[in-house]
């Protein structure tokens, strides 16, 4: 991506914007040279001391990527991306090996503290050392990914005792190669789409979760992604496998510094749910969205897909998308198992010049499979937001049911909201419902709130949160509180 010349004024102005996570961490980095070719991939694989099969897998992905073109069907536009002008590997310098908190660079710990991500197990467990005004949180195991690598994973011991594996995927490759080899790319194949192929070729880290038969994961798992390095693509890979009768709730958060140039983030997330298993995957996506003139911000081109392989399995995606200059993302469910359930709850907020094209795919293959889609889209400023969703019922999916509800809320008269549902039904016994509404925050509502003493911004926040309630209530409690605050911050300055 061409870097725009930064002027002092521009930087200062950016500093005043409402993006509170836009600081940069000064830390020693190990960075690969710019550009993408087989050597880059060999270098990444070597740095990560990967087995031969994974290198071959990456190279196969790269070769298929070379034959592919960027998708153009989404309702987003951006200048061409120069894939040779990017770094594909950037890691904080430190020695490899198992990590404990004591070994982590204090500068990194401070970064996560600043972001409000608690990495101190002791503090979290005992409820001590909390900043003033902060109440004790229930413990959450966190995998903190900084640029391309995982810096620390907390509560691993507690989880190990329960039989749950939660670690950086690069470690899983080393410690559980058979599991990784069995499932990696089994939901999103290497050549699935342009960005997924790119990710498969150059992915650097991410989280691996394995919950064995019958185990309910004893705590929420969370990965916190932080992009810090300049001109660096972020390509993380998450793989979650939940065996028969097991369950897990997984949270994902992300932020990035404010920069004038665009940065590419192309992640792949694969979920596998076996018989009676359940996976709840929640995302609060808060990448830097660019400034009010549409300069800078993350290109968030992500492939997320879950396979409900076993009977009565369930995968539930909940996402709150407030960040990124461009979001291209369709968390999907492949409903193979009989009676399996797919859910997609989404709030997408765009402001200023942000663009979002997001939605889901529900592929009904098994009998009596059910899916629910609740998508709330909020557009403000000059932004453009599209819901794009596919509901496909295969011939054998008798008794399949889908309910889709898409609501759009417009703030101001310069923004756009679009709903593009695709429905493909090959089974006469299926039942598919689609509801869609578009509304604006009315002057009446604003005036009513202000007459009761609320400021205009608080009134908008309240109304927007009300609009999103059906989705926010699906989020784990403390995430919901953060998401509510985030919605309000994202819409600051959008009214009046």
């Amino acid at each position: 991506m061409p870097a725009v010349t930064e002027t002092r004024e521009a930087v200062e102005k950016l500093g005043q914007s409402s993006y509170k996570w836009g600081f940069e961490t000064d830390i020693d980095m190990d960075v690969a040279p710019k550009g993408l070719n087989e050597d880059t991939i060999r270098l990444i694989s070597a740095r990560k001391e990967e087995p031969e099969w994974l290198l071959e897998w990456r190279l196969a992905a790269y070769r298929s990527w070379l034959t592919m073109k960027e998708p153009t069907w989404a309702k987003v536009s951006h200048p061409p991306i120069d894939y040779q002008d990017l770094h594909y590997y950037a890691a904080p310098k430190k020695k490899p090996g198992p990590k404990s908190l004591e070994e982590v660079d204090p500068e990194l710990l401070r970064t996560y503290e600043k972001l409000g991500i608690p990495l101190h197990e002791q503090a979290m467990l005992a409820g001590v050392e909390l900043p003033e005004g902060e109440t004790a949180r229930p413990p959450i195991a966190i995998d903190a990914v900084f640029d391309s690598v995982s810096v620390v994973t907390t509560f691993r011991k507690t989880l190990e005792e329960a039989g749950v594996i939660f670690c950086p995927i690069s470690e899983a490759v080393r410690d559980y190669p058979d599991l990784v080899r069995q499932y990696l790319g089994s939901v999103v194949p290497v050549g699935d789409n342009f960005y997924a192929a790119l990710n498969s070729a150059v992915f650097t880290d991410g989280s691996f979760v394995f919950v064995p038969k019958g185990v309910r994961c004893p705590m929420e798992l969370s990965t916190y992604f932080r992009i810090n390095a300049k001109n660096t693509g972020q390509f993380e890979r998450t793989l979650i496998v939940v065996e028969d009768g097991a369950s897990v709730s997984y949270l994902e958060g992300c932020t990035a510094p404010m920069r004038d140039e665009n940065q590419l983030h192309a992640a792949v997330v694969e979920l596998v749910a076996m018989e009676d298993a359940s996976i709840k995957y929640s995302t609060v996506q808060n990448w830097y969205p660019g400034d009010e003139n549409g300069r800078g911000g993350i290109y968030n081109f992500v492939t997320k897909r879950g396979a409900c392989r076993g009977a009565r399995s369930k995968i539930s995606w909940t996402q709150v998308e407030t960040g990124s200059a461009i979001t291209w993302k369709y968390p999907s469910c492949i409903l193979q198992g009989e009676g399996s359930v797919g859910e997609f709850y989404s709030v997408a907020v765009t402001n200023n010049h942000q663009q979002a094209d997001t939605g889901t795919k529900m592929i009904h293959i098994g009998r009596n499979t059910r899916s629910t889609i609740i998508a709330k889209t909020i557009s403000a400023g000059h932004s453009d937001s599209t819901y794009r969703g596919l509901v496909r019922v295969q011939p054998k999916a008798s008794g399949a049911r889908n309910f889709t509800q898409c609501d759009s809320l417009l703030i101001g008269d310069q923004c756009g909201a679009h709903t593009v549902p695709y429905i493909e039904n090959r089974n006469m016994g299926a039942r598919i419902e689609h509801e869609a509404t578009t509304s604006k925050i009315s002057e009446d509502q604003l005036f009513y709130c202000r007459q009761r003493g609320l400021s205009e911004e608080d009134a908008v926040g309240l109304i927007v949160n009300g609009f999103c309630r059906d989705v926010l209530k699906e989020l784990p409690m403390e995430f919901a509180v953060e998401a509510q605050k985030l919605l309000q911050i994202s819409l600051e300055g959008s009214v009046g």
């Binding site: 009315s442 002057e443 009446d444 509502q445 005036f447 009513y448 709130c449 202000r450 007459q451 009761r452 003493g453 609320l454 400021s455 205009e456 608080d458 309240l462 109304i463 949160n465 009300g466 609009f467 999103c468 309630r469 059906d470």
Partner: protein, 258 residues
Amino acid sequence: MTQFLDISGLCARIDADGQEKEILKGVDLSIPPGEVHAIMGPNGSGKSTLSYVLAGREDYEVTAGSVTFQGQDLLGMEPEERAAAGLFLAFQSPIELPGVNNANFLRTAVNAVRRARGQDELDAVAFLKTARAAAKDLSMAPDMLKRNVNVGFSGGEKKRNEVLQMTLLEPSFAILDETDSGLDVDALRIVAEGVNRLRSPSFSALVITHHQRLLDYLVPDRIHVMAQGRIIHSGGPELAQQIDREGYTRFLAEAAAA
């Protein structure tokens, strides 16, 4: 001049589909502290417009006149500043806020005005206790605090919810815009009692109504007749019966002759 609420020569217009329409044409009205005044008048005389202009609705443009509220220039304040200063408007048609929990809305509002008034905010427990007691006084079903603001409320429930908000926001001046419309006799009594409970030397109200019935329960200190954007006649509480018997014809004729 009362030093509490003084409206003088107030003119206001609205832009209705590109056409400027003059609605208030020189309203003069003073309300002293501790008094309840009523405004009656035919449809379209500007009663609701007056309440909106006092509360600060932006669709109306004030073209002349002044409003002083407790020594402050009311017209120069934002709606939320007016609320913090003690002004409350009970809406004729309360607005629905889908997905917004009623208790949460009330607490947000109460704490917003408390902050602005330099008072301590109420925590969730203290607030709920106060809100439940106030709701009970208004014979409101306990689940109304849990429901979404005005969504699916009956007409009577909406009006009670307005009085509940008024009670909790502790205004010094309340405007009740046809709060009696659509209420049955029992509901009317409950709402009127709710307002009467607030009556004190530091609480004034302006009650807009079409019916004498409300004024039986909520006996005003003064009644004003409004027509064609002006106050054309003022009198004591006995005026309500007279209007009920004779209508507005005589006042309109007198005003035309003057």
